[in-house]
Symmetry: C2
Subunit: 193 residues, 2 copies
């Protein structure tokens, strides 16, 4: 997605250790126009898939997932990283290790929101080692829902997340694919859409 | 906001202890069409205020804040509840006690995203005792930004959050105002917009 790649070139910042910081338009401050364009692109790619639910994880996945859900006219569910006192029902849960935060956390979705009738599009902001997306796939599978694809805003193609998800039989659609962050420079691969 | 009040009547669920559960359309599963209508209503109310930034807090505030930001064509910033490894810059921070989760947490926004040039509209999903909104106001004030108003999706008017914020000189605009949750019934006051 050219508009996204250009924005990463202009406003992304490479920190040490393979970190790409996009906190001025994705992960902290959010550009709603870009998020709409991203969400609509995912909706376009999966327009014929009969998607019934968009699933993401709090917090940075919510913006692109919401616009995709708006365009496909389906509900969006965001998995929770911590259990709330008002989440009293039966939960789908999975463990996710975050290399960024260096903790393993439980993620969960109330079982009542996913069923074997559902065809799910998973959306997340980043794909690195694939642990978050894998956790989301597992939540959907626990409910018997079919995962039709995984839409990723920014893929770090030099990490093994995409391979992990494809080995699980998943279709991965990444709008920006990053080949390398070496020497403080962002090198891109051709994106999927 | 009649559409929101109707939806609360249909799909909201009163738990014990003054808890209104709206997890099927606001706080866990999200209805993007309703969120758009809500965001656009806030945008309409504050259309003439010269708002430059929308500020909310992860995670349930993001959806209504994003659509308001889209309509007003300004960035949306969501305050973080936990510090990320990639948030390396100087932070605005404030303490918030959550009665729902029974913990005090630090919330933060990178200082670079707010300045004395900004006119801020704060948006959140719930207003109960006002601790989260107060924390967001404090973050904006630390940056010297002007807070023009606080847009709330659902206000528990039987708690003292609105009073607290109004005593701080804030304009509070709540789309649904709940007078009481006694006996498992939702009683409404007239909403602000």
């Amino acid at each position: 997605m050219e508009e996204l790649v250009q924005r990463i070139k202009e406003d992304g910042r490479v920190l040490g250790e393979g970190v790409l910081k996009v906190d001025s338009f994705v992960t902290h401050q959010v550009d709603p126009n870009l998020m709409e364009a991203i969400g609509y692109r995912f909706a376009e790619v999966f327009a014929e898939s009969g998607i019934t639910k968009i699933v993401t994880i709090e917090a940075s996945g919510i913006a692109p997932a919401l616009f995709a859900a708006k365009k496909l006219n389906v509900p969006m569910i965001f998995a929770r990283k911590a259990k709330s006192l008002t989440m009293d029902e039966e939960l789908l849960t999975s463990s996710v290790y975050s290399f960024t935060k260096q903790v393993t956390s439980q993620i969960s979705i109330s079982r009542k929101f996913l069923s074997s009738e559902d065809k799910v599009l998973i959306i997340d902001d980043f794909l690195a080692n694939g642990q978050a997306a894998k956790g989301l796939v597992e939540l959907c599978q626990q409910a018997g829902a079919q995962v039709d694809g995984i839409g990723i805003v920014i893929e770090k193609s030099f990490q093994d997340g995409r391979e992990l998800l494809e080995e699980m039989g998943m279709r991965v659609v990444s709008l920006a694919r990053i080949a390398s962050l070496q020497n403080g420079e962002v090198e891109f691969l051709e994106g999927d859409a």
